[in-house]
């Protein structure tokens, strides 16, 4: 079985019913801060009665209050959680009978409501029920067959691994031994008590005992006197395992050898990151214990496992979790802000939480439902690196083809934003894309089709018709080169058909997608940039910085850089642009770098080609 769906209403950020879809095995929840990731985790902890939180937890501020209501207002009347478990096979159906949905015997329903009304002890009244009937009989036994374990973010693993009553280590050791019958003692207990007896034979203890006995007799005489005997404190299995703690040694032993116990260090000497891993290992060990033949569903909730871990360790850990999830049938739900993690796992495990506009309720998107074709999925899984996987954390995305665009467009965007503010007469717009949370993602190629499929919100049916589907609700635009015949010099009045194989997307997206647009130009990025305004002058000046040898090239560029290009005929401009393009074709990245240096040092603004302006306006405003 696994938890297939959780519906939350009235809890913190979620007012009206919010649906979380989950899958078997590993689930990764990503999204910006305050988008509700931890709230989902906390909801699960409450409803599944996770040890540390499930029983206490709720405070008056947990009841949803609209952001426009005063902070002290009372909040909604009721928090409601509804879980739906997918069951497999008759055994699970029979076991979970009291929770079975009337409509579907393969699903079990578990619900919890918390009323916004404190009782005399300041607690909020809770009600848990299975099935659809609130007043039915509830079998708590079933809830305890679902183990829910939670790992907090930035945790202090050292503290948790120390010896204390009810520690994770103590629990693990107790669980590993079969339940004791009446009068039976744990073998550890017997061993320790035998050892105690042995130790009492130590001469110093014997001597101390004799001195004490002597003093009693001397003090109060043999009539009132009492006998006394030294003993070690009572031993019971609970007391023994409470004293167990974990130590570490930084290296694994060689094959067939064991590290000398003297070498092990206290945990406070260890790094935070490694302590986290040690802690995780103890927890996974607990989850691994299988109860024979018994139904036992395991849910592991991990918040931000990337805390304190360097990227390679993050990856290693995640792969391990993924394997564990499969092998031990644990459902793992992870929240993360780490692009490292999202760049390296099965795309279908990713669930995105987004808040399209301030004050909007969060939106939950399951990547698996986005209509990403198998081909695109494979492509993305191979091509997502850390930079590209930023797309799961952005409020808007501009996809570009190459390094040159990635460098220059950032600057061009500033110009567009200034222009927008001037048009408006006041500064409604922010200064740059970062402030908007918009990322520029360099695809190093024209793979727009694959990347857009996460956002585009429609699928193409076999019949050729388009049908809307789920999508990550983030606006994104791509800018791509028209790429006509190599020698061509197109102008706005004399366009040349492009050879870019992705151009069909322009129209398809504009006609069907609520989020995505692709924009194209006349020829290439640099060529089109050069045609704009007085850019030829600026670009030639920048290129001159890279030319070391004197000659015809240098003198041509010098002449370009002295000329005022505004008002010059298109044909003349296109020849110059073509010339320029020829010179930088081999070092576009280097040129882009130089160009940005040049304009920032001299505080010059480049004119923005209209296709780029359109792309930026689309992402910021959704304006076409």
């Amino acid at each position: 079985m696994y938890l297939r769906q959780l519906k939350i209403s009235g809890f913190r950020v979620f007012n009206s019913e919010f649906t979380v879809e989950l899958t078997e095995g590993l689930n990764i929840l990503v999204g910006e801060n305050a988008s509700g990731k931890s709230t989902i985790i906390d909801a699960l902890r409450l409803v599944l009665l996770e040890d540390e939180y499930g029983k206490a937890g709720i405070a008056d501020t947990d009841f949803h209050r609209s952001i426009v209501d005063p902070a002290k207002s009372k909040g909604v009347d009721r928090i409601l959680f509804k879980c739906e478990f997918q069951l497999e096979g008759e055994h699970e159906q029979v076991s979970f009978l009291p929770w079975l949905s009337a409509a579907n015997p393969n699903s079990a329903l578990l619900n919890m409501a918390i009323e916004n009304k404190e009782d005399g002890r300041g607690r909020f009244k809770r009600k848990t029920w299975g099935n659809d009937c609130e007043s039915g009989l509830f079998e708590w036994e079933l809830l305890s067959t679902i183990s829910c374990i939670y790992l907090p973010p930035l945790r202090n693993a050292e503290e948790k691994l120390r010896a204390y009553k009810g520690s994770k280590l103590a629990r693990l050791i107790k669980k590993l031994h079969p339940e004791l019958g009446d009068g039976e003692t744990h073998p550890l207990e017997a061993k320790i008590s035998a050892l105690n007896k042995e130790m009492l034979k130590d001469p110093s203890i014997q001597k101390a005992n004799r001195i004490i006995q002597g003093n009693i007799v001397n003090a109060i005489g043999s009539i009132f006197g009492q006998d006394a005997s030294l003993q070690f404190a009572e031993v019971s299995i609970d007391r023994i395992i409470e004293k167990i703690r974990l130590l570490f040694y930084p290296f694994l032993p060689k094959d067939g050898e064991q590290n000398n116990l003297n070498l092990f260090r206290e945990l406070y000497e260890n790094s935070l990151g490694y302590n986290n891993i040690l802690y995780l290992a103890t927890i996974l060990a607990e989850l691994e214990i299988d109860f024979d033949n018994d139904i036992n569903h395991k849910v592991l909730l991990i918040e931000e496992p990337e805390a304190h871990l360097h990227p390679q360790l993050q990856l290693k850990l995640l792969q391990y979790l993924q394997e564990k999830a499969k092998e031990s049938k644990i459902q793992i739900i992870v929240t993360t802000h780490s692009p490292t993690l999202t760049s390296s796992i099965d795309l279908h495990a990713i669930k995105v939480l987004s808040i399209p506009e301030v004050n909007d309720a969060p939106i939950f998107t399951t990547v698996a439902n986005c209509g990403v074709s198998l081909q695109s999925k494979r492509f993305l899984e191979r091509w997502l690196d850390i930079t590209k996987s930023l797309l799961f954390f952005s409020k808007g995305i501009l996809f570009v083809e190459g390094i040159a665009e990635a460098i220059v467009v950032k600057e061009l965007a500033k110009t567009v934003l200034i222009k927008l503010n001037t048009e408006l007469g006041h500064s409604k717009y922010h200064a740059d894309l970062e402030e908007y949370g918009i990322s520029i993602i360099n695809l190093n190629g024209i793979y727009f089709n694959h990347f857009f499929s996460l956002f585009k919100g429609y699928i193409r049916l076999e019949s050729g018709r388009f049908e809307p589907c789920e999508s990550i609700p983030v606006r994104c635009a791509g800018i791509t080169d028209n790429d006509p015949e190599k020698g061509s010099r197109p102008t706005s009045s004399n366009k040349v058909p492009g050879k870019n194989p992705q151009l069909w997307l322009v129209e398809e997206l504009a006609g069907n997608s609520p989020n995505c647009r692709l924009f194209s130009n006349l020829k290439t990025f640099e060529y089109d940039l050069a045609l704009e305004g007085n850019n030829l002058k600026i670009m030639s000046s920048a290129l001159l910085q890279l030319i070391e040898t004197d000659g015809i090239i240098k003198s041509t560029l010098l002449s370009y850089s002295k000329k005022e290009w505004i008002g010059v005929l298109e044909n003349e401009k296109s020849d110059a642009a073509y010339y320029l393009l020829e010179r930088i074709d081999k070092g576009k990245g280097q040129f882009a770098q130089e160009l940005v240096n040049y304009i920032t040092e001299n505080d010059i603004k480049l004119s923005v080609p209209s296709y780029i302006e359109k792309a930026i306006k689309w992402i910021i405003d959704g304006r076409e």
Binding site: D77, E90, H91, Q93, V94, S95, L97, P98, L100, S101, A102, A103, N104, P105, E115, K117, D119, K125, C133, E134, S135, G136, L137, E139, E141, L142, T145, D294, I295
Partner: protein
């Protein structure tokens, strides 16, 4: 009521309920008057069928709860069924109000048990408890579990001896009279000798001292507790100074006396109901006793006399039935088809009635799912193909019915649930003395429920493997099938580690049903209701309080039935008032269509029915 005054009252109510004024605008004058009625005196709201009684009661309670200012005493809102209680809770929930501590909402029984029976009964009867738990276990009145054999009496009647179980008879609260809900036994126990009377009493006391009680015993004990421990009555009156009772015509004598006692302590009793719908005479409920209580205790009588459910034709028939002079206004418009129809059936086409009815419904655009076939007794209903209930099945039948559901290829949740319940009940009867609860599949004490359910499933799969209902093409007879059943159960028992009984001890409990040796098992198993046909066929009792779109009321074929023949319902003279009330309850359920099906009528009978308002089509 003056228009302005009504507006003012509605405005006030909407402020307290924090709801929009429009949501209340449909309320009639009578309804508003009751909701606004200042409760300083006990009252009785006489509500005709379809008068919106539940809505009015929930609004009233909602209002009272919101106005309530005491912390440790509250209002008790009592109903007679769990579904009625949850219906009220959910309606009150619509106004964002929950009835929780210090208030109580639930069935009359659960209230009595929680506040009187469980806390004090062990003290009254001297029950020592089990493992420190002194709660009384409630056994259903008609329960026939094996452990009950310990409490049986052998009495002599007309020269014969016969056994009688402790759950089959009850005593009045002074313990001086004995009676039974079963008419046959009622006659017998009322005429027993003093010696036998003492034996019955002795067994009953032993049963109670062992920590058991039937629902009726529990009521009796509660009354005894209130008499013996007067502080309980006094404190309970302080704890619940206001009590609302829905369907008050169903109050039993015990309950009435408990209510009266509480009223003497100053409790305000607000009853809501319709004495014309009292149909629990077999449980010794007599509406005239309730009406006596109303007049003697001086309850203020209020009325709801608009029928929002049915059309005029149906309302008129209901009025005629009870010979009422009361004016009842029907608020639903007449349909285009005839609304009150009379069908005569013959022996041959009797079984076709369901088909004929559902065709008529479809032809007139009426919802089959919201319609029902009603009859007085299960006897009449059992003639309709597929109708049967799980009452009084023996262990072999339980296993058979459970197996059929378990092996249903398109098994739904409710099939799974019923299958586990049926087989669980048999397993509990066989190995654990039959003491258990339907809601946890009769799981015995001390076994984890998940394990129990999985044990049932193992037995079910064992039956599936070894007990086919047909041998190749040939359907099996009971005499053949029982052998397979015994083999399967024996094998199961050899591995079943939760019961201390051996197969030898239980094998006698697996028997062919009476006179069924030559009957095909498939015949027995197909008697179960076909879940696929959505047309319900059920008793009048089970639709009490419901609203339906259309009703087919079927008269028994002859006068042998008690109160199930059409002549019991309309002919004047010696008629039993309760029989008329059966018809009244049945006829007042539908919104649009009422069909009465009778056997071939004599001219006079036909004329009478037509005069009553039925049309022949």
């Amino acid at each position: 009521m003056e228009e302005n005054k009504k507006k003012k009252i509605l405005y006030k109510i909407s402020r307290i309920l924090k709801c929009k004024l429009e949501t209340l605008s449909n309320l009639s004058d009578e309804q508003v008057f009751y909701i606004n009625f200042y409760c300083l005196r006990s009252s009785f709201l006489d509500a005709c069928p379809g008068s919106g009684k539940t809505e009015v009661l929930s609004l009233k309670c909602c209002l009272e709860v919101l106005k309530w200012r005491k912390n440790s005493s509250g209002i008790a809102l009592l109903t007679f069924t769990k579904s009625a209680a949850s219906e009220l809770t959910s309606r009150i929930g619509k106004f964002n109000t929950t009835i929780s501590y210090p208030h109580f909402v639930g069935t009359f029984d659960s209230w009595l048990h929680a506040y009187i029976l469980q806390p004090y009964c062990h003290d009254l009867v001297g029950y020592g408890g089990k493992n420190g738990d002194k709660s009384i276990r409630i056994i259903e009145d008609d329960k026939n579990a094996y452990f009950l054999a310990n409490y049986s009496s052998i009495i002599s009647y007309k020269g014969k001896t016969l056994g009688i179980r402790v759950t089959q008879y009850h005593f009045t609260s002074d313990w001086k009279e004995v009676y039974s809900y079963d008419e046959k036994f009622d006659v017998i126990v009322k005429s027993v000798s003093e010696k036998d009377f003492n034996q019955l009493k002795e067994q009953k006391l032993k049963f109670i001292k062992d920590g058991f009680a039937t629902y009726t015993d529990a009521e009796c004990l509660c009354e005894n507790i209130l008499t013996r421990f007067s502080f309980v009555k006094r404190l309970l009156a302080k704890r619940f100074p206001v009590i609302y009772i829905d369907e008050c015509q169903d109050l039993s004598e015990f309950q009435l006396r408990i209510i009266e006692g509480l009223q003497d302590e100053g409790v305000l009793i607000h009853c809501v109901g319709d004495p014309n719908q009292a149909i629990y005479k077999f449980r010794k409920v007599d509406p005239s006793k309730f009406l006596n209580f109303v007049s003697q205790s001086g309850l203020q009588i209020l009325k709801l006399s608009n029928n929002y459910r049915s059309n005029q034709a149906i309302v008129s028939i209901c009025r005629e039935l009870i010979n009422s002079r009361k004016e009842i206004v029907a608020c639903r418009s007449m349909p285009s088809h005839p609304a009150t129809i009379l069908w005569e059936y013959t022996e041959n086409d009797f079984g076709d009635l369901p088909k004929r009815f559902s065709e008529f419904l479809t032809a007139n655009d009426l919802d089959v799912n919201k319609s029902a076939i009603l009859a007085r007794g299960k006897n009449t209903l059992s003639y309709f193909n597929g109708y049967s209930e799980n009452y009084n099945l023996n262990n072999a039948e339980l296993l058979l019915q459970g197996l059929v559901l378990w092996t249903n290829p398109s098994r739904r949740t409710e099939d799974l649930d019923s299958a586990l319940q049926l087989i669980g009940r048999a397993l509990c009867n066989l190995g654990f003395g039959g003491l258990g609860n339907r809601r946890n599949q009769f799981c015995p004490d001390g076994i984890r429920r998940i394990i129990w359910r999985n044990q049932i499933a193992i037995l079910a799969n064992q039956l599936k493997k070894h007990c086919p209902l047909v041998d190749g093409e040939q359907p099996l007879k009971w005499s053949q099938w029982i052998k397979l059943l015994k083999i399967a159960v024996r094998e199961y028992w050899s591995k079943f580690k939760y019961s201390t009984t051996t197969y030898e001890e239980i094998k006698l409990k697996l028997r062919v049903p009476n006179n069924c040796g030559e009957v095909l098992v498939t015949t027995t198993s197909s008697r179960r209701r076909h879940k696929n046909s959505s047309l319900r066929a059920t008793t009048i009792h089970s639709v009490k309080g419901e609203t339906l779109d259309a009703v087919l009321l079927v008269s028994h074929r002859n006068k042998s039935s008690k109160g199930g023949h059409h002549s019991d319902w309309i002919e004047g003279g010696s008629r039993d008032e309760e029989h008329v009330r059966f018809a009244y309850v049945a006829c007042s359920r539908p919104k649009h269509l009422l069909v009465l099906a009778t056997p071939k009528l004599r001219q006079v009978e036909l004329a009478n029915l037509i005069k009553l308002g039925f049309q022949t089509v």
